[in-house]
Amino acid sequence: MKWFDTDTFREILDSILRNRSRSFLTGFGVFWGIFMLMLLIGGGQGLKQILNNEFEGFAQNTCIVFAGNTTKPYKGFKKGRSWNMEYADVDRIKNLIPEVETVTPSVSLWGKSVARGETVSSSAVVKGNRADYARIETPQMRYGRYINDADIAQERKVCVIGKKVYNELFPEGGDPCGQRIKVDGAYYSVVGVDWKEAGGININGSASETVTIPISLARKAYNMGNTVHMICFTAKEGIVMNDILPRVRKVIARAHYIHPEDEQAMFLLNTQLIFGIVDNLFNGVNFLIWLIGLGTLLAGVIGVSNIMMVSVKERTTEIGIRRAIGATPRQILGQIIVESTVLTLVSGMSGIVFSVLILYVVELGMTTDGILKAPFQVPFGTAVLAASLLTLLGVVAGLMPASRAMQIKPVDAMRDE
């Protein structure tokens, strides 16, 4: 006899529906378990994505070097000396540390106001960058292009403006490329608009309120000589940033007569470390999610097993009658196990469906202008995994009650009156 013909199914449906409220309450345990698990998985993943969005556009293996004041006397210099990095440091890093991929200098000028005709923006940051800065912090060009190598070489008076600056200076919208804006008495042609939002990592001011000009131009326009405010570099694929940082420190320290052990004379901001922390955090969160979710699910399944046990006890007479009129123990076993599996699976599936629905609504809420901020939906594979897990748990839940049912002898039907 087959286990999965319509008759078997009807039998099972019958016995599940006979105790509607009990089946419902039992199933609810499983439903809630899987619902929580799916919701937490989806939510955790979405939150992680949101957090990652904050760092979006940043090369994950970036390090940024700032100069600080020395805290140790060295080679005749007193402590507390302020110093600046210079263009030569870029070459030093590039030449002496082969693990480094891109090295780029940057200068920043704070509290500038930018004007276009009569319109004046709120405070903005003027940054001088090279074209390869784009490999450190990827710009999201809405209009035009980023600063390029020709801009640098020819010291062109061009600029890329951030989203906020654009919104303030060009409230009417449209492509601003070719238009001129004024910063500190000098005019620059807009060549691009960087739509990058202010995120979790802002290097020397948020990208949205930045006016980026060629670094060669900034150097001359603001009389900065050799001074570089920060040097950003990325490590080559597979290099652990922390392994090369001491050497970077040494190379720069030696050139500027800084004590080799003077940690505070130079700030090294290692994004790999930050990403690592976030990753670790979410690994921990994930662990908790699975622990709680599986725990709840397990409690639900144990509930199913328990109720099936009660149900078998209640149906002693019925099972006895079935045995007396010719049901084999195997058929009884099959019925109980399939019953428990169906109960688990149906409530579990509705849990999955319900959580998918809730996550869909969350995603709707997180969507602005048709662009989804972060995917909250559980991956299809996870859902399939959960469904097969449910099947397995349903069978396991049915095992004990089924073995109890198999011990019922047909004589019990007549004895139990």
Binding site: M1, T6, D7, D14, S15, R18, T317, E318, G320, I321, R322, R323, A324, I325, G326, A327, T328, P329, R330, Q331, K409, P410, V411, A413, M414, E417
Partner: protein, 238 residues
């Protein structure tokens, strides 16, 4: 060979103190007989019925049903024999409460793997035979005791078994319906030549059968031929 042949059947229950219930039962029942087994409670008649119905094992001796030795069967085999060779009628009807009359009747066929349509059709035929066609889709708790017992009889008959075993079939019925049920069994025996064994402690019920086997303290006492149905002079069944 007779339809049922019991040879020196012994059965001892070992619940704490060993209890020797059947002490060497020898019995032959031919095809088409209408027999009752009578005895007081504790006489061993229920145990004998359980053994006849392959619901219980015996310790020594042999039991042949329709030429097959029924001994140390696997659960699966026992279930199969019960399903195909034996129809049960119980004192408390033992219908499944959440199934309608027709579903109850077709249940044995379900375990034989008979397709649904065929099953239903056969079940309806047997219900018609029992005069229960209008009640086919009623649940047991909507029926009277007599109707329930007739559903149970239909269920026992549907697999066309070799024997019908009835355990106190009138025990839960009033005297009027008891008569009806016994008449029905009698009619089945006469017209369809079905072998029926009734276990009872009521003389009136036993009197309706053609042969009365008295059992006492685990051994068979006298066997009365009762074709005149005059063995018992009470009034309950008359």
């Amino acid at each position: 060979m007779a339809l049922i042949e019991l040879n020196d059947i012994n059965k001892t229950y070992n619940n704490g103190q060993p209890l020797h219930v059947l002490k060497g039962i020898n019995l032959q029942i031919e095809r088409g007989e209408f027999v009752s087994i009578m005895g007081a409670s504790g006489s061993g008649k229920s145990t004998l019925l359980n053994i006849l119905g392959i619901l219980d094992n015996y310790d020594t001796g042999t039991y042949h049903l329709d030429g097959k030795l029924i001994k140390d069967l696997s659960e699966k085999q026992a279930a199969d024999y019960r399903n195909r060779m034996i129809g049960f009628i119980f004192q408390s009807f033992n219908l499944i409460g959440f199934k309608t009359a027709v579903e109850n009747v077709e249940l044995p066929l379900y375990y034989q793997g008979v397709p649904r349509k065929k099953r239903q059709q056969l079940a309806m035929e047997y219900l018609e035979k029992m005069g229960l066609t209008p009640w086919a889709n009623h649940f047991p708790n909507e029926m009277s005791g007599g109707q329930k017992q007739r559903v149970a009889i239909a269920r026992a008959l549907i697999t066309q078994p070799r024997i019908i075993l009835a355990d106190e079939p009138t025990g839960a019925l009033d005297s009027k319906t008891s008569v009806e049920v016994m008449q029905l069994l009698k009619q089945l025996n006469k017209e369809d030549n079905i072998t029926i064994i009734v276990v009872t402690h009521e003389g009136g019920v036993a009197n309706e059968t053609d042969k009365i086997i008295h059992i006492k303290d685990g051994i068979i006492g006298k066997i009365e031929e009762n074709f005149s149905h005059a063995a018992w002079q009470g009034s309950a069944m008359k």
